[in-house]
Symmetry: C2
């Protein structure tokens, strides 16, 4: 069994499920597990720490004989870190949040498939022009960084704008229903983050995974306060969706006040993050937390989501009279 789309076929996927390259969460072991289970595993290179990448990329490269990839945050990436990643010969390079043009030629020259994640239609058109082979339309319900448009109306709008370039859906997808819905919307697959955060192989701390399992969709908020306290100069268009906690209760909506004391607050924040104190530290998570109640293996998740989507797709015609 399996679900085949042209995108999935290109990489021999059993299911068109792509692991979102969640920074510091999607490590080499998780990426390999997703690829070995018939999805496409992407390592979350995030802000481009070379030591972290040197540690994680061999794990995925040596951990799977299937296709895998690497994701970076575009606005903070540089040629050095892209070259470092390319030396591990990923099959896929995933760029999100920024202009992909500085890196597209070197990625494509290396024989990598370039996937660009966008948050609106204009950026989709620009990414296609920059050479993206695949476009991800990411909705605001996604965990972590993103913008304002919602997945359901964004995916068909992006698909129309960039056809025949393949489009994947991201944001709010965590089970078979939402994968099936994404496929009927016109996506050739789905990028799934938060659901994989709460799996055995993710690098998220157990306490963070438990918060995701316990949270409801209304417990998330889009905010830039975690970027402010960490000292990341994210472009204004992008905020991060995270679980509400004591820190968001204290600072959300007071970004400028936090910015003024950020350097003083930073050591305490970093200590909380290191200690797994998620009353202070961020747990990036999307609105699909409503659908997440356990911490299974990545392989079980790929199977569960894939089989669930198959069942939905099969049942669709029974609605027609």
């Amino acid at each position: 069994m399996g679900i085949r789309t042209p995108f999935g076929e290109q990489f021999g996927l059993t299911y068109p499920i792509v692991l979102a390259p969640m920074a510091a969460v999607s490590g080499g072991r998780l990426a390999a597990a997703v690829s070995n289970a018939g999805g496409l595993g992407l390592v979350g290179g995030g802000y481009g720490d070379p030591d972290w990448l040197e540690a994680q990329l061999p794990v995925v490269r040596d951990g799977t004989s299937h296709s895998w990839g690497i994701g970076l945050i575009t606005w903070i990436a540089n040629r050095h870190i892209v070259e470092l990643a390319l030396r591990f010969q990923p099959h896929v390079f995933f760029l999100s949040f920024g202009d992909p043009r500085p890196f597209a030629p070197m990625i494509k020259d290396a024989g990598c498939v370039l996937i660009c994640q966008v948050q609106d239609v204009d950026a989709a058109i620009q990414a296609k022009a920059a050479g993206a082979d695949v476009i991800v339309a990411q909705g605001t319900e996604a965990g972590g960084h993103g913008a304002l448009r919602a997945t359901l109306p964004l995916v068909p709008a992006v698909a129309d704008a960039v056809a025949p370039t393949p489009v994947l859906a991201a944001g709010g997808i965590a089970d078979g229903r939402s994968l099936a819905a994404a496929l009927l919307l016109g996506a050739q697959g789905a990028v799934i983050g938060t659901r994989f955060f709460a799996c055995e192989e993710s690098l998220g701390l157990p306490a963070a995974k438990q918060r995701i399992c316990a949270a409801k969709g209304g417990d998330t908020v889009r905010t830039r306060i975690f970027d402010v306290v960490r000292g990341y100069a994210w472009p204004a268009a992008f905020t991060g969706r995270a679980l509400r906690n004591r820190f968001t209760a204290q600072w959300a909506g007071r970004e400028e006040a936090l910015a003024q004391v950020a350097e003083r607050e930073r050591p305490g924040y970093q200590a909380a993050a290191a200690a797994g104190d998620f009353d202070t530290a961020v747990v990036f998570a999307g609105e699909a937390v409503d659908l997440i109640h356990d911490v299974p293996s990545a392989a079980e998740l790929v199977r569960r989501i894939g089989v669930g989507a198959e069942a939905r797709l099969k049942a669709g015609p029974s609605l027609i009279v």
Copy 2:
């Protein structure tokens, strides 16, 4: 042909498409046209103007032999206006934005099917407890009033929370793809607003319909400024998604400043609204404007969305290997 769900079957619908009861836009003629085309037409009673309802409800009652309904804004409704509407013997009563308990018994005693629209899971559970026969899960991408959760992850979460009560999806649905997606998500139908705003029979002014056709999804914004200038005391949880215009450029994010001059600004605003000056007056519209490019008849829209969804549902199994 047609698409059958238990919800649609209850009303003999050809397609499980419900006209959103858009205040001052979904008049009796539009509601009748949707019902006659095989959907379910709802008159947008909005804030409950008795003269408007006395004028519009006979049009739908006498304009269709199929099921039809009436929608009101719950927080501003009163027993008098509910009784007035019930005298026209609607088949469906649609309540949104507030506690349905004060009105649920009289509506159900009248033999009406009670549909409650909610914006989060907790409100869905409360609406079911209040006696709702059907729950609408409305995502933030919807035009007009709404809240923060997005449709794609909200619909399955609400469906799980209130099962086996039927759930409809609202927000971001404007074509066959999005209807098909909503059905695979677990909805038994879709409530569609903005797409019907831009149809022949809607009471929207031609200039407003043209703005919807020209707009992109990024041209909408959730804001309370149009409520502030109009003097409506909406509960804080609800904002209205509208097309950006000169008025939003001037006031969005400056609600408190606008509130201080609202009485002075109101006559000018009302004159602009009456004159169809949509640089100032509101055009409520959802993110699905990306998918809206023409002003056909309501019957053509029901057919187009329904046939499109059929095609998607039929094609789903071809993805399975």
